[in-house]
Assembly symmetry: C2
Homo-oligomer: 304 residues x 2
């Protein structure tokens, strides 16, 4: 099967699952237990259905396929991961964080619904992700331990020693001198951890062995870091005509970048090395890794 076709099939599976887990409700004070009030539901759906590329859930489904796991068991965890990614974007956009008015060409959640409701939409998506993960685990009691481990892997990578740790350091960094160690920490946790989470979760559901977990973890980390370095390089190349020398901070965004801290050439070399390492880490999966190879290639070319 062609890569694009397969990617679209994964995306369809994710969209269907999201729609099943979070359909628009109608009543503000539902009298049915477990029903979500209409407005809260709307605020969550606004951002969750904002047309992202579904990179993280696709990674989860693809890794599950690669490992020979049961894709049916992986659909809810994939959707839950997209909920977690979406909540982090809603909260990142808030005043006091990045304070953004637009995301992907649409007004941010708090610009449409107000700050209070945006905070709750984010909280709601985060909590609902775990509610869905736990519900799904109970629906697959034959693989309960695998699902608990998957949820735990997601919680670890999304949480206070994962993505949230990266966000916290990123925010703190605004008042600190640039530092390469810190930049690496921020990118490893703010970005790469949430790309590794779906791979590890798939491993837990499909019963991967230690060598496979190690390879999945390596692939996620390398792809995540390489993507971030390329992002910084693209920014620099875009800014190069406009600006002169740099000082370790990206002048436009007030943030540290790889090229500013280690130079453009060294950044390019590091990116190349990481993409190669990502590809190499897939060797233990043989031909079953065809989609992952193509995925990494597309991500590198920014075609996903």
């Amino acid at each position: 099967m062609e890569y694009r076709e397969q990617y679209d099939r994964y995306v369809s599976a994710v969209e269907e699952t999201i729609e099943r887990l979070l359909p628009q409700t109608e009543r503000e004070c539902p009298d049915v237990d477990g029903m979500i009030p209409a407005h809260l539901c709307k605020t969550m759906r606004y951002s969750l259905l904002a047309g992202g590329k579904r990179v993280r859930p696709v990674l989860l489904l693809a890794a599950c396929d690669m490992l020979g796991g049961d894709i049916e068991q992986a659909k809810v965890p994939a959707a839950a991961l997209e909920m977690i990614h979406t909540y982090s974007l809603i909260h990142d956009d808030l005043p006091g964080m990045d304070d953004d008015d637009y995301r992907r060409g649409r007004l941010t959640n708090h610009k449409v619904y107000g700050v209070g409701h945006a905070i709750l939409a984010g909280d709601g998506l985060l909590n609902y992700a775990y509610e869905c993960l736990l519900q799904n685990a109970m629906g697959h009691e034959e693989n309960l331990k695998g699902h608990v481990l998957a949820a735990k892997a997601i919680a670890g990578r999304a949480g206070v020693s994962g993505m949230i740790a990266g966000q916290s350091l990123d925010l703190l960094s605004e008042h600190m001198p640039p530092d390469l160690n810190r930049l690496a920490y921020i990118h490893a946790h703010k970005t790469a951890d949430l790309l590794t989470a779906p791979l590890l979760a798939a491993g837990c559901i499909a019963g991967a062995d230690d060598a496979q977990f190690k390879a999945l973890s390596k692939f996620g980390m390398c792809v995540g870091l390489a993507f971030q370095i390329d992002d910084d390089l693209l920014d620099v190349e875009g800014d190069a005509q406009l600006m002169g020398k740099r000082t370790g901070m990206d002048a436009q965004r007030g943030k540290m970048t790889w090229p500013a801290l280690m130079g453009v050439e060294a950044s390019r070399a590091k990116s190349r090395a990481l993409w190669s390492e990502a590809e190499a880490s897939l060797s233990c999966f043989g031909e079953r890794a065809w989609f992952m190879h193509a995925f990494a290639g597309q991500l590198r070319e920014r075609k996903n």
Copy 2:
């Protein structure tokens, strides 16, 4: 054993567990996997260790004891529930929500650390609650299903058809005419659900039967609603000397209250009926419910 002595023992168990799960770290970019960055850790601890009465975790431990369950298995879920309660307070205090500068006589989290870090402290506590619940579940594999059901019960009551649903309606209500159905919904979900959560979680861990679950649920809901009605009555009695007639909204806070919507006498009668119903729901537990009876009595007298 005396009630107060037992209460203090439960609180000590909760405090020790919190300290074990979330000790203050020292490094901003920890090189150890799973370590929380120092500043993020500090912001989470600031609110988690702000000296609350630990009502919800105490309920969880007490219910576990009442059901003859293993208290060791319940300590982490109890601490996780306090994390969830604390995150909800941090986010409730933010600008865009209640915008409060003080809570329990101390500056609110965002007044000390800024809005961005307070949002992350809240997100961190919520996510870490589930991380701890899942870690704890894996540590008790002999009762894995019980722990997954406990985490699911907590997620359900804390989430988008539970506490967050109540918060959302509460916020939305500011722009709506007063309505008794909506007020009941808000209090049932914003307050009572997070009192019911520990009781149901304890039931899952201790393997309660259907009748016991029904009784626990009833007790939590009655106590939560009665407490809220009394809260509104105390507000009215405090305001009575200052103000004249009321219009369905609490003039001071711009929020709906029970006495304003159904009258003072009817509110008092409803409160009395709910406290009685709460007591009656404990009958199936016999003498093992001595602490729960005392707990309800103390809560009613506001002595916890």
